[in-house]
């Protein structure tokens, strides 16, 4: 029997959730009806656009751009800070409703889920999906799109068709009519870089990609070429995996410097101050990090990143920062620096630790010092204990993105 898969995608997730929360708490303005975005700090106007409302799209505001450039496009833009704990609550509530519809749910991200709906007949699928969508709207107050197909890929493509609050199908027999006329950048796994290369090869629609000889694509894109060729023809066979929780895949933080930095020590200090906000967050979530990455953007907007995998996972500020500074020294070319960032990936559970025979004697000492520092800062405020290097330094002792405030 053929499978039926639903893909449920929350419309402008962060923004809708902020909007619904505001309305529930008595605000009269619905953020979804005005140009508005979620992201950064409205006071300092620092940060990037994480989610945008439909009316703000008219101003050409893009997800990921800086608040500064978004405000240039629309000076009346309403900015609200992100509230992750609230998003998690909304996402959990949505999954709870979905559990009444399917025992097999894959939480693809905080606002997207796949449901294995094979127990539903094909002719009933649209009716059931519409009911699910309407229930979420009625009970939780936000809208979703549901894509229906026989596999995950096509269901995901379908939920992206027209928004908001709609149900779409994309069965195999509908690929030619519904998916092939779309621009190639709408295809899953075709990012802006791949799209640009495809345009140069005169492949502009998904249909053209599907009709291109796979070998030709392989020559240009290697394995990725075969994959997007299959995807364009709707071939993909992964199954819906039951995953109850959203695993944190990584964490990072970055900051744009007040002016361009040209000396190595100041850059190291900035890295350190980002680390002072990021590493305690890592310890707080009871994770260890295995892969450390850094990101440098120069004043001419060219950017470089590099990452390194550690011999054993760690959550020690000093150890991680030593790696970060070493990575910085490795790729910095001496040009003025505009923006610095750190990212942690390959997070491991703290409770399961591979003990190393080659740890130096400092490890245990540093661990205890981190504990004490975290405790002092928790009880007496972050500024109660800072690194000596930040005394009389233009660099603040803590920097990087928005920390949730209540």
């Amino acid at each position: 029997m053929e499978k039926i898969v639903f893909h449920v995608d929350v419309n402008s997730a962060y923004l809708s959730w902020n909007a619904v929360w505001d309305l529930q708490h008595g605000k009269s303005l619905d953020l979804r009806t005005v140009p508005s975005i979620v992201g950064g700090d409205p006071e300092s106007r620092h940060g990037i656009v994480l989610a945008k409302s439909v009316p703000s799209k008219k101003y050409g505001i893009k997800t990921g751009e800086t608040l500064f450039s978004a405000l240039m496009k629309c000076p009346d833009l309403k900015i609200v800070p992100p509230r992750y704990s609230m998003y998690l609550k909304a996402s959990d509530a949505m999954v709870e409703i979905m559990r009444e519809y399917s025992p097999l749910i894959e939480r693809y991200s905080i606002d997207e889920c796949f449901l294995d709906m094979s127990h539903v007949k094909k002719k009933d699928a649209v009716r059931v999906a519409t009911e699910l969508k309407d229930r979420i709207h009625e009970e939780l107050g936000f809208t979703v799109n549901v894509g229906i197909s026989t596999g995950k890929l096509l269901a995901k493509m379908a939920s992206d068709f027209k928004k908001p609050n709609l149900v779409h199908t994309l069965y195999r027999e509908e690929i030619e009519k519904k998916m092939w006329p779309l621009p190639v950048e709408d295809m899953f796994m075709v990012g802006p870089r791949t799209a640009e290369k495809l345009h140069k090869m005169n492949i502009n629609t998904i249909g053209e990609l599907a009709r291109t000889n796979p070998q030709f694509l392989h020559a240009r894109f290697k394995k990725h070429g075969y994959m997007i060729s299959c995807y364009a023809r709707g071939i993909e066979s992964s199954t819906v995996k039951n995953e109850g929780t959203i695993e944190m895949k990584g964490m990072g933080n970055s900051t744009t410097l007040p002016f361009d930095f040209t000396d190595r020590i100041s850059c190291h200090n900035v890295m350190l101050s980002i680390g002072e906000t990021l590493v305690p967050r890592l310890r707080d979530s009871r994770k260890l990090v295995k892969t450390v990455g850094i990101h440098i953007r120069y004043s001419d907007f060219s950017s470089f990143s590099i990452q390194r995998t550690l011999n054993f996972p760690s959550d020690s500020t000093s150890l991680l920062m030593a790696t970060v500074c070493a990575l910085f020294d490795e790729i910095w070319n001496g040009e003025p620096v505009r923006h610095l960032g750190i990212s942690f990936s390959q997070l491991k559970e703290k409770d399961i630790e591979q003990l190393s025979l080659f740890k130096d004697g400092q490890t245990e000492k540093m661990k205890r010092m981190d504990q004490v520092i975290d405790m002092v800062r928790k009880n007496f405020g972050d500024d109660s204990l800072i690194r000596a290097t930040f005394i009389n330094s233009p660099v603040k002792a803590f920097s990087g993105g928005v920390v949730e405030k209540d």
Partner: protein, 84 residues
């Protein structure tokens, strides 16, 4: 309007909540107490996953009987006078 209020309520054996009396700080900065005479309707809402209970109540304000809406937020245990 969404005004924060201080509440005296009674929770019965089954966990049903009965708001009794609440006070708020009015425009002059003074406490003003309002007693609830009856509860006309109650419902639970879970907007964006956030549990709240909404009570439609009757009470007397300035010697006039009025209807108002109270909200109780489960996660924070805070009460609000939502509409009057």
């Amino acid at each position: 309007m969404a005004k924060p209020i201080e509440m005296i309520a009674w929770f019965d054996f089954k966990g049903l909540i009965h708001p009794i009396r609440f006070r708020l700080i009015d425009e002059d900065g003074k406490y003003k107490t309002i007693s609830i005479k009856s509860i006309q309707a109650r419902k639970k809402e879970k907007l964006a996953g956030n549990l709240m209970q909404v009570f439609l109540c009757r009470g007397v304000v300035n010697e006039k009987e009025v209807l108002f809406e109270l909200k109780y937020e489960k996660d924070t245990d805070q009460w609000t006078l939502f509409k009057m």
